[in-house]
């Protein structure tokens, strides 16, 4: 199965890298960018074939390593 996992900063957490990107987009001449927050995307191929077990594995990966629960949220899609 495949898991597509997104890790993003919680609202209210300072994101200076997002701000820097926002500035650079303005420099590109793209107007109307009101804010930028930067996150991470993980593509994980799992040997597991049972959807329920795959979900458990992904939850453990997110909470245990991929996301720092102090400052980040995670979401995911699992597919065949």
């Amino acid at each position: 199965m495949k898991a597509l996992i997104k890790v993003t900063l919680k609202n209210g957490v300072l994101d200076p890298q997002g701000k820097a990107i926002e500035g650079a987009l303005a420099g590109l001449g793209v107007g109307g960018v009101e804010s930028v927050r930067q996150g991470k995307l993980f593509e994980i191929a799992l040997a597991e074939t049972d959807a329920g077990k795959a979900k458990e594995q992904v939850e453990r990966m997110c909470r245990g390593l991929l996301a720092n629960m102090v400052i980040e949220n995670y979401s995911y899609e699992i597919s065949e």
């Binding site: 300072l14 200076p16 890298q17 820097a20 390593l65 720092n68 102090v70 400052i71």
Partner: protein
């Protein structure tokens, strides 16, 4: 005194702390590779500075999952004093032995300069040799030293007197200019509930003998000798 320093792939301040520990404590220091299952019996364990795992994913995130950390955590919970310096502090927060997180410096710059710290707590194994309120100078060199935690945890840290080191100017005043990385409440270093685990971003091992330009950091190691 038996000291152990944990070495991760990418740690680069392990030899500096080893040399400082040997000079101040006397005796040999165990260098313990991250892949080992156990830390030798130790009176102190140090997680050194550096770029473990290249800072990939998050600083200290993967080091926190290294095989040796199971035993480091067990020994820490059993009361062995543990010191996390810079990347070591990041590893301690990722293992949740210390609360909070070290984020990218607010300026986005890697900051490499001396800072001044106020020693606010002198009842930890790493700060007994200082006097309460003493202002010391130590070098920092980091890109991700911006300490952050939620309001409840901050209130608990302050209420329980667990902020050990705070960024101040040379006169001991908290100012924006004195904070090199945007850290919440100017926090440079904190301790655990049992007060035996300390993490800080500055590098005491870089200022422990006169040849290095100062000895303000030496007290952190001498404190182990004074430990009750």
């Amino acid at each position: 005194m038996r000291a152990s320093v944990i070495v991760f792939p990418g740690s680069n301040c392990d030899r500096d702390i080893k040399v400082a520990l040997e000079a101040v404590l006397g005796g040999k220091v165990n260098m313990v590779w991250h892949g080992e299952a156990e830390v030798p019996a130790s009176d102190v364990i140090v997680l050194p500075g550096g770029f473990s795992y290249g800072d990939y994913l998050r600083c200290g995130a993967m080091a926190a999952q290294a095989p040796i950390m199971r035993d480091v955590i067990a020994k820490a919970k059993a009361g062995t004093p543990v010191l996390g310096i810079c990347n070591g502090f990041q590893v301690l927060t990722e293992t949740q032995l210390l609360p909070g997180v070290l984020m990218r410096n607010a300026s986005l710059k890697f900051v490499c300069r001396d800072v001044h710290l106020k020693v606010e707590q002198t009842d930890t194994p790493f700060s007994r040799a200082y006097t309460k309120g003493q202002v010391v100078r130590m070098p920092i060199a980091h890109h991700d030293g911006n300490y952050f935690t939620d309001a409840d945890t901050l209130a608990r840290l302050e209420g329980e007197g667990r902020v050990v080191f705070r960024y101040v100017d040379a006169k001991g005043e908290r100012t924006a200019a004195a904070n090199p990385n945007g850290a919440l409440a100017d926090i440079a270093g904190i301790c655990s509930e049992n007060r035996r685990i300390v993490g800080l971003m500055p590098h005491p091992e870089r200022l422990y003998e006169p040849m290095l330009g100062g000895i303000d950091g030496r007290g952190m190691i001498e404190s182990l000798l004074a430990a009750a």
